[in-house]
Amino acid sequence: MISRRHFLSIAAPALALSGYPVHGFTKEPIEGRIIVIMLQGGMDGLLAIPPVGDDNLFKQRKALVASNPLKLNPLFGIHPNFRNFSKMLKSNEASIVHATSFPYTGRSHFEGQNIAQSGSKLPFSTNTGWLGRAMDFAKITGKALSLDAPLLIRGAPEFDNFYPANIEKTRSPQTALIDLIKETHDGDVMIAIDKLSRGSMSRPSRLRARDPLSLATKAGESMRELNGPRVAVLTIPEFDDHSSIGSTTGHHPELFTLLDNVFYNLKTALKEQWDNTIVLTTTEFGRTVQENGSAGTDHGYGSVGLLAGGLINKSSVVANWPGLASKDLYEKRDLFATIDYRSVCSACIEAAFGLEHDFIIEKVFEDKKIARIYEHIFG
């Protein structure tokens, strides 16, 4: 068994743990766990969870639908690479929220990722994250060992509590730099960089992409301990596929496999604590409904959220489906987001930390208009 100190020395940039209990400040007994998997770059929700019952899907993006999606119900299917997740759906341990997004339509990675972590409507309007604030209000406190933590789990200054995460050689400097360059460019320049980076490196993504699997196991092992952390944040980058996104196979499907195995590893490592856990994905935005000229998709609006964990009682797809006809799209190009993803975040906080919805939306998100979706996910 790995020690906490050892864990801290090996955790990768893609993982941050938080919420170790400090006696006298933490509610007993410890129960719910929240694990956030940040899918950076903008996951294509229509490729992951294709609305196969919507005829317009095939009219809009015939080449970008997996040939053999697993059918979930008359409207939705799931990409075949989500086998573990599909089994969780079948056993009522997972759910999907579709046509959803954080309240952001600007299509900038920087701004979108900031909003996805801060939970605010305006980018860079706060220096704390929604999960960190929720931990503070739930009195899940711990020691601050470093300031090098994702915004998501940064709380109010007096409650800063997170653990650093750093490891060598888990991400090559080249790809990190290229990702940074991509995030600062748009349009043809970004597509060109995307192509160049693919060509210049020998499948670095998949090799590196295996790392979150180890981290998921480490996170699960650590969190299953009675006094282990109650929050973990994992990052899977590289969803920004402006070219050659793939359909049945390809880059996005490979990332689906990776994400699928992260879910599997978390469940396996958490063991009995899985019953007290909710895992949710976040992404800064979805991608365009139609493919671009490079067999990829560009920055969009609505996407999908995947949730799994023992706190779920009944699997379902939650969606106020807006349709994919051109007239139904946001600015005639993006899947409309009809569900504010902060509702999903609120529900997870409610389920894992026991805070009430009205309190969460007022104190954590400072937006009383966020609807309660708890019953749809956990009911």
């Binding site: 790995i2 050892h6 020395s9 090996i10 990768a12 697993l70 059918k71 979930l72 119900n73 409207l75 939705f76 086998r83 573990n84 599909s86 089994k87 759906l89 079948k90 490891i167 060598e168 050689k169 888990t170 020998s202 499948r203 998949r206 090799l207 590196r208 295996r210 790392d211 699997l213 180890s214 981290l215 196991t217 699960g220 092992e221 490979e254 496999t257 195995n261 599997y264 590893n265 396996t268 490592a269 009944k314 699997s315 379902s316 797809v317 939650v318 969606a319 106020n320 489906w321 569900i339 609807a371 309660r372 979706i373 019953e375 749809h376």
Partner: protein, 259 residues
């Protein structure tokens, strides 16, 4: 007598009309409620139509764990009372989002592993017998994926202790990332589970089992080697055998330092 008949007729008409009006009010009550949800009842006109019936049945089904409902116009009064009562706010909350139940009828199938490993029935050479050798599995870019010791009994691999490397810990300095191996040893080979794909506690065996298959490029090593350098990993005391996984990544399986 005629007056009495007229009064009775008027009374009957009023009764029927009154009931009709009441019924329409109940339908209207349901429709107005539904217009504040995502279940579209059509126009709020007090008329019980297909849209209204579908919408209220969908809402109540969703509120009752997807149990099928069969609400008809004759139920409108009771439904209206429910919607106007204590459960109204709860039903309104449920009605803000649609839930689609999951009904998976297809076979999800076995999980396909990223990399297949299977030593079953692999024979190095029928003439080779060593009690103890070192083996390594190294990615073409230099990442060490596994290492350990293996015996060779008349050319058949018999794995002993071993460990797999999680993540990209390739330098050997980050020993904390080294996982306990979870190879299932058999007389004819080893069924391995890569810990970075599937965590399995020491001593346990879990599915999906992953196999390492020596590929078509497998080259049988020379039958004997009496002068092998203990550290000649590059040479490979029994030859270096390359194989390619499903994604085109090439690995080298090397055996050295036999005794």
């Amino acid at each position: 007598m005629t007056k009495i008949k007229l009064k009775i007729t008027l009374f009957a008409i009023l009764m029927v009309f009154g009931t009709q009006v009441q019924a329409e009010e109940n339908v209207l009550c349901i429709q107005k409620f539904l217009t504040k949800t995502v279940f579209n009842p059509g126009p709020s006109d007090g008329a019980w139509g297909k849209k209204t019936e579908t919408a209220i049945n969908q809402l109540m089904s969703q509120a009752n764990n997807f149990e099928p409902q069969n609400i008809k116009k004759s139920d409108a009064e009771n439904i209206c009372k429910t919607l106007s009562g204590n459960q109204g706010s709860k039903l309104n909350e449920i009605g803000q989002f649609k839930r689609f139940p999951i009904v998976i009828t297809e076979d999800i199938g076995e999980i396909k592993s990223l990399t297949d490993f299977d030593f079953t029935n692999s024979t190095i050479s029928t003439n080779v017998t060593y009690k103890r050798c070192v083996f390594d599995i190294i990615h073409s870019e230099g990442w060490r994926r596994a290492s350990g010791t293996v015996g060779i009994n008349n050319g058949i691999l018999v794995f002993k202790n071993h460990e797999w490397y999680a993540g990209l810990a390739s330098s050997g300095r980050e020993h904390l990332l080294n996982e306990e191996a979870n190879l299932k040893l058999t007389n004819t080979g080893a069924h391995g589970i890569l810990p970075h794909l599937s965590y399995v506690a020491e001593g346990e065996v879990d599915k999906p089992v992953q196999y390492l298959i020596l590929g078509k490029d497998y080259i049988k090593p020379p039958p004997k080697c009496y002068s092998c350098s203990p550290s000649s990993l590059e040479e490979g005391i029994l030859g270096s055998n390359n194989y390619t996984d499903d994604y085109g990544d090439t690995y080298t399986f090397k055996i050295s330092s036999c005794s």
